[in-house]
Amino acid sequence: MNLLYFASLRECIGVSSENYITDQKTISGLIDELVKREPRYEKAFKNLPMIKVAIDHELIADLETSIVGVSEIAFFPPMTGG
């Protein structure tokens, strides 16, 4: 699957997107795995309640949402457009 990072998360992690293969079944499992990977991920996901997640361009509210078979997951801080 493709992982995307925007705004402060992108700056913290240092890339805007990456291909990633995981056995995790949910967003929260995926985040736990990323956080253990490298300090930059740990730092990026530190304030977890503030982080927004979109699966295949659809905002999701529940971190237990399944990621099985999805092609794109985006992580970003609260939106500040307009």
Binding site: F6, H57, L59, P77, P78, M79, T80, G81, G82
Partner: protein, 157 residues
């Protein structure tokens, strides 16, 4: 003009500035039902005392932002009887005083256009994937979520 319920739609995410006259013309030409046109322009402001803001950069999630704006506009047309919506959001580097966003809504009566404009701006602020970064004379910082804006969504429940 075979029906009241085919509102015109235009969503544009781009670097270039917009011309409010052009968008109004697009929404009102030929359609004599339009009695009210409400527009909103959001601008880069600098509230600091000594013009500390140098510029602002707006980033978005291209594959998602246009879809979100389109879905929000659809929701507005289901909730109110509208004759048309034009919504333009700029991205990239913008300087103080420059325009960021334009929303133009045409309707038969003014109430619908006002309500739908407020609704769309409230949801755009909280649900459309755009992010602002401000560069001042002391450095760069990502704009933080506005808690007041977040609470405004409650009024549409």
């Amino acid at each position: 003009m075979t029906s009241d319920h085919v509102p015109k739609f235009k969503i544009d995410i781009r670097k270039e500035n917009f011309d409010i006259n052009l968008e109004m013309k697009y929404l009102t030409d030929v359609n004599l039902k339009v009695g009210a046109v409400v527009s909103f322009v959001g601008k880069v402001r600098d509230l600091s005392k000594n013009s500390k803001l140098k510029f602002m950069e707006i980033e978005h999630y291209p594959e998602m932002s246009e879809k979100v704006l389109r879905d929000l506009c659809k929701k507005a047309t289901l909730r109110w009887e509208l004759q048309g919506i034009s919504l333009i959001h700029r991205i990239g580097k913008l300087y103080p005083g420059e325009n960021i966003v334009l929303l133009v809504i045409a309707s038969v009566h003014r109430e619908e256009a006002f309500d739908a404009s407020l609704f769309l701006m409230d949801f755009l602020k909280s649900e459309a994937p755009f992010w602002k970064k401000e560069t001042t004379i002391t450095g760069s910082i990502w704009v933080e979520e506005n808690q007041v804006d977040k609470q405004k969504l409650l009024r549409w429940q």
